[in-house]
């Protein structure tokens, strides 16, 4: 049974379409990758689900259904409550994702107190457990620290702990490893997979890194220009993508087995093909 369903979602900035008739589903406990270049609209989909789209973005049509509740049809206040209780975000940049003027502890416990109505003490105990779970040494000290006193990797661990804190059913991870250096990336990725498996949370994993997708996801959606090009199981994708753009993207990924091989860019002809496809779509829908 699908648990998050996005149906025919279209969104615009002014007259320019940024999401073109996007449909995708995430089943309970599944990890779905959302792959595309910069500007493909992958983060926008995450923001649309969480209700944090920038004011300039206008959703023109479509439905976003989370556990049977149509988010776009709800009043903003009800939507905030539903999302707050059932979904969470692991943001891209751990350096700006914690409030610099407040200590770390309350930033984790606030959610438990505000949304779930826990007592301060229970929330505190739970936060310490969570920090332990994400392998943070001396959790008591970290709870009292200001964000600038901690490294980027530490902060991302705290944000992961905080995302899982209220036991959400869905977590949207918006390129959670992009801002970290490579050695830390690997640890964080392993941690997210470990936490996801333990808590059985569905995960929508936004990334531009197919290597990451192969390690963590079960299914994936490939986007270009806000349009879904391919929606498939990860195994099938790596065995042989159906869309020429996805095939070119896969071919462009550097190989560990042959580090000296020169990189293959996505061929111009393929990009032109995708652009033509999008233009045809826009003409059909009268966006031009």
């Amino acid at each position: 049974m699908s648990f998050l369903t996005i149906e025919n979602l279209s969104a615009f900035v002014g007259p320019a379409p940024i999401l073109r008739d996007v449909s995708l589903t995430v089943t309970a406990g599944e990890v779905r990758g959302l792959v595309g270049e910069s500007g493909a609209g992958k983060s926008m989909i995450g923001k649309a689900v969480l209700g944090t789209l920038p004011p300039a973005v206008r959703v023109a049509s479509g439905r976003i259904v989370l556990e049977g509740e149509d988010l776009l049809a709800m009043r903003p206040r009800d939507r905030r409550r539903v999302i707050g209780a059932r979904a969470a975000l692991i943001p891209q940049d751990p350096l700006t994702a914690l409030n610099p003027s407040r200590r770390v502890g309350p930033q984790i416990t606030n959610r438990l107190v505000d949304i779930l109505g826990w007592t301060r003490h229970d929330a505190q105990v739970r936060a310490l457990e969570l920090l332990d779970e994400v392998h943070i040494p001396e959790p008591e000290r970290v709870m009292r620290a200001y964000p600038h006193e901690l490294s980027g990797g530490m902060r991302q661990r705290i944000l992961i702990a905080s995302a899982f804190a209220a036991e959400p059913r869905l977590i949207i991870a918006d390129e959670p490893t992009t801002a970290l250096d490579v050695t830390v990336q690997k640890q964080i990725l392993r941690l997210i997979r470990e936490m996801q498996a333990r808590h059985g949370t569905a995960l929508l994993f936004v990334t531009h890194d197919l290597g990451v997708v192969s390690k963590i996801c079960q299914s994936l959606t490939v986007l270009y220009g806000g349009k879904v090009l391919e929606d498939t199981r990860v195994g099938d994708f790596f065995a042989g993508p159906t869309h020429p753009y996805s095939a070119a993207l896969l071919a462009a990924t550097p190989k560990y087995t042959d580090p000296d091989a020169s990189l293959t860019p996505v061929p111009e002809a393929v990009i032109d093909g995708v652009r033509a496809e999008i233009e045809a779509f826009d003409r059909m829908h009268g966006h031009v």
């Binding site: 969480l50 004011p55 707050g84 975000l89 943001p91 700006t96 994702a97 914690l98 003027s101």
Partner: protein, 283 residues
């Protein structure tokens, strides 16, 4: 790194203590003016007019900073003048800050139509020449302490609104705000609990600058005789009177000017010092 931080801290410390010291001294003088001032600031003595300050020939030790052309004690008038100056600085500064910062926060965080309305209003407001605007306002409201305060608030809130709007906007784009939104917090509570603390250092700096500006504005209005009644000594009116006898008695002009200068400087340095003091990264 640790050394640089220490240096910044020490320098901020010296600034903070010197400026806070001067302002405390002034505040005490203002509160206890009738007790501290050696003479009645209004008492005239035409036979003791234009007495020079204590180190010059012909000075009277009872009037350490000399007397003006009506024989009034300069020191006592400066001490009493501090009441008006500090009163205007505190009340006008705080009111301006509250109104301007709140509107700036709303415009910068909520964007959309509240931002449209507030920003257009600020643009129109700032196109008026401020001094002319002040004089016009006083002409309508009549002279008096409350008129000066109203004039300052009405003119200067735009300074806060503009700067705080920009700050709130850049803070609003941070991921921690998005996280708070996803957590289902109300937008107004996010504005106050998440954004405001990060904008606070800027507000403190602006507030203290505004207090300095308020002192200057009051002095300017006194100078053009639009401030308050002449039986309340103010630094601005002292400077205006001193200007007339600058060649015979420079001290009547210079001492209130120095006081004014030190006060405005102290306010701005206090703001910078406090900002460094409260900055979580530097702290």
């Amino acid at each position: 790194m640790a050394d640089a931080r220490g240096l910044v801290k020490r320098r901020a410390g010296a600034r903070l203590w010197l400026s806070a010291g001067w302002l405390t001294l002034l505040a005490l003088a203002a509160v206890f003016a009738p007790l501290i001032a050696p003479h009645d600031p209004l008492a005239q003595d035409l036979f003791g007019a234009r007495l020079p300050p204590f180190w010059e020939h012909g000075a009277d030790a009872a009037f350490p900073l000399g007397t003006d052309s009506l024989g009034r004690d300069v020191l006592s008038r400066i001490i009493h003048g501090a009441r008006v100056a500090l009163g205007v600085a505190l009340i006008a500064g705080t009111l301006t800050c509250l109104i301007g910062a709140l509107l700036g926060l709303i415009a910068g965080y909520f964007r959309g139509w509240p931002d449209m309305v507030i920003s257009r209003f600020v643009d129109i407001w700032m196109a008026f020449p401020p001094v002319l605007f002040a004089i016009l306002l006083i002409a309508v409201l009549g002279t008096g302490l409350s008129s000066i305060i109203i004039a300052i608030v009405v003119i200067d809130w735009t300074r806060f609104a503009r700067v705080i709007r920009a700050e709130a906007m850049s803070q609003g784009a941070m991921d921690y705000v998005a996280s708070a939104q996803v957590a289902g917090r109300k937008r107004f509570s996010i504005m106050l609990a998440e954004i405001l603390p990060n904008v606070l250092p800027t507000i403190v700096v602006l507030l203290t600058l505004e207090m300095g500006i308020a002192v200057i504005v009051e002095a300017i209005l006194s100078f053009v005789n639009l401030s308050i009644s002449t039986d309340q000594p103010t630094w601005g009116s002292m400077i205006a009177e001193g200007r007339l006898s600058i060649h015979q008695a420079w001290w009547v002009l210079v001492f209130p000017l120095i006081t004014l200068f030190l006060t405005v400087l102290s306010f701005s340095q206090l703001g910078e010092g406090l900002k460094d003091h409260f900055d979580p990264v530097l702290r």
